[in-house]
């Protein structure tokens, strides 16, 4: 298919914690993870809370908590993503759509937040264009986050991530708490971005929307990547799925078999 935009190899993320007194212990967040996202592709990463999927996003963006240790290699468009390279690419070539609307600054009008990182000369124009694209009234630009609804704030978060130069978008749980129509809208926006050639890493625990929007679905559990399956295999009884854990996950859905699954994959 297309050229890889993001390549993650042998990624380990662990945390050093003070257990009692001065004794420390190490907690594993992610272990030995390999993943690749290609141009124009949506790769969904699914897994339960604590499976390490948000850590993956934070590791790529370099915003892990200070007590985190990261080893392994993250490459963006063929080159290692170092701190210096992050400074040049974050906000320009790599965009992040965070999970929660608390990621917006409560004391800054939303329009201004969308304009951060845009060329000051054209920022206002570009922001109006983005507001129009995401169905936000132009008057809303002057409002503060507390004056907008949750759904509108999601769209603002989308608007902050869309830049002409973007090659990779990392969307962390952009759908929870939204009603079905709004979820469909978010997914449509992601599809549009991918159609423009952007690589999209979609982190979610919503299997159904992941399957409906992505080409491939990566399944994580306990900090490890269990399997990467084609989205098309998540159908019927999931017989086309290669890994038993993916099958269990799919069959456990209420609309499928609602089965508790087996332990055959352990």
């Amino acid at each position: 298919m297309n050229t890889p935009i993001l390549t993650v190899s042998e990624l380990d993320v662990s945390f050093t914690q003070y257990a009692s007194g001065l004794r420390t212990r190490t907690l594993t967040g992610i272990a030995g993870l390999n993943i690749e996202v290609r141009e124009g592709e949506i790769l969904a990463v699914i897994g339960a809370s604590g499976s390490g999927k948000t850590l993956l996003a934070q590791a790529i963006l370099g915003i892990l908590p200070r007590n985190a240790d990261v080893t392994g290699e993250i490459r963006f468009r063929g080159e290692r993503l170092t701190a210096a390279r992050r400074r040049r690419t974050l906000g320009r070539e790599i965009s992040y759509i965070p999970q929660s609307v608390t990621n917006l600054d409560p004391l800054m009008p939303v329009g201004e937040q969308v304009r951060i990182g845009l060329d000051p000369k054209t920022a206002h124009q570009e922001q109006s264009r983005l507001f129009a694209r995401y169905g936000l009234a132009s008057e809303a630009a002057r409002l503060y986050p507390f004056e907008l609804s949750g759904g509108m704030l999601r769209r603002v978060l989308f608007a902050t991530s869309v830049r002409d130069t973007v090659r990779l978008i990392i969307a962390d749980e952009p759908t929870p708490g939204l009603h079905a129509e709004a979820v469909e809208e978010v997914l449509r926006h992601l599809r549009e971005l991918a159609a423009d050639g952007v690589a999209v890493l979609l982190i979610t625990h919503d299997i159904v929307s992941a399957v409906s929007v992505a080409e491939r679905v990566a399944v994580m559990n306990g900090g490890r990547l269990i399997t990467v399956e084609p989205a098309a295999a998540f159908t019927g009884d999931g017989d086309g799925l290669g890994h038993p854990f993916a099958r269990d996950l799919w069959r456990a859905l209420p609309q499928n078999r609602f089965s508790i699954g087996g332990v055959e994959w352990h």
Binding site: I63, R88, S100, T102, D105, L107, M108, I116, G117, T160
Partner: protein, 322 residues
């Protein structure tokens, strides 16, 4: 808005009535006899003269009558006559207010700016040496009484090192109008540093906490993920979000500032409103004391009012609640 304004004015009026009644009751019940304080060691005064003086000052009437007489004058804008200075209270206060205002103004600005900067530095270096030094300084200073710090400064800088004069606003024996600006400044340094040093601690510690919260917030993490530099994060998000508690404290600090200036001025014999208040209390000068008390109440009230207005200007969520 007009209703809000009316409410504020009403609140100020009740505050002033309450404060003046309380202050009056306290002086009235204090063991200091104004007449005795006035005549001092002068033993040539006859009982007849004493009685006349008592009558002239209205001390022969009941306390309620005395208070009401004072209040009646007060409402007409007449602060009364100082018994100690034998001059209108308003003139006595006017001469001192400038000196105090300069002292408090400098201390206020220094403690605000320095406190905020130290707080931000501590938060951005949390757990490291700079943070530990600033925290140590702040905790020590907030546990230090102003007058004691003033005495320590006097001992170290005036007595041992001889860098600064021991007190007053100008050299002794020189008429006030002949004191040069440099001399004034020289006398001004220690009292103002004493007053600032204590104020820094509070602002620094509150700013440190707030700034730590801000730096750990989702929106700062998001700003990092968007490639904003440390300076951009501070300018775009850090400042506005962390300055609210500093501003609130800084204006609410008017009360402590005034209290601190009373102590600092007394220690340094600095002729400001604060040391005059001490004099008035010890000399049983009721009109002067009440005058200064009322002025300070208005001063503190204004500080809180400004804090509310500025907060609303910074944080739109407060504005919409009002």
């Amino acid at each position: 808005m007009p209703r809000l304004l009316l409410l504020r004015v009403l609140r100020l009026a009740t505050l002033l009535i309450g404060v003046s009644v309380l202050a009056f009751a306290l002086v009235h019940n204090s063991p200091i006899d104004p007449i005795q304080a006035y005549i001092g060691a002068n033993v040539d005064i006859t009982d007849e003269q004493l009685a006349r003086l008592r009558e002239q000052w209205g001390l022969d009437r009941s306390p309620i009558e005395q208070y009401l007489a004072w209040a009646r004058e007060m409402i007409q804008g007449n602060f009364g006559t100082s018994t100690l200075y034998e001059a209108p209270v308003i003139d006595v206060m006017g001469a001192r207010f400038g000196a105090s205002l300069a002292l408090m103004g400098v201390a206020w600005t220094m403690s605000g700016v320095l406190g905020y900067l130290l707080g931000v530095t501590a938060a951005t270096h949390r757990g490291r040496l700079a943070d530990r030094l600033i925290s140590w300084y702040s905790y020590t200073l907030s546990a230090t009484p102003t007058f004691w710090l003033g005495i320590v400064f006097l001992v170290v800088f005036s007595v041992w090192l001889g860098w600064f004069p021991v007190g007053l606003a100008g050299p002794q024996g020189v008429p006030a109008e002949d004191v040069t600006f440099a001399q004034r400044l020289h006398h001004f340094v220690l009292p103002s540093i004493t007053l600032s040093a204590v104020g820094v601690a509070n602002i620094a510690m509150h700013t440190r906490e707030k700034m730590t919260d801000v730096l750990n917030s989702d929106y700062v993490a998001f700003a990092r993920a968007r490639g904003e530099s440390d300076w951009q994060i501070f300018r775009n998000h850090g400042f506005r979000n962390s300055v609210v508690p500093a501003v609130t404290l800084q204006f609410a600090y008017f009360a402590e500032l005034f209290g601190g200036s009373v102590l600092a001025e007394t220690v340094f014999s600095y002729p400001g409103l604060g040391s005059t208040l001490t004099e008035a209390a010890l000399g049983g000068d009721v009109p002067l004391l009440l005058g200064i008390v009322l002025v300070s109440a208005v001063f503190v009230f204004t500080g809180n009012l400004i804090a509310d207005v500025v907060n609303a200007a910074i944080d739109p969520r407060i504005r919409s609640r009002a």
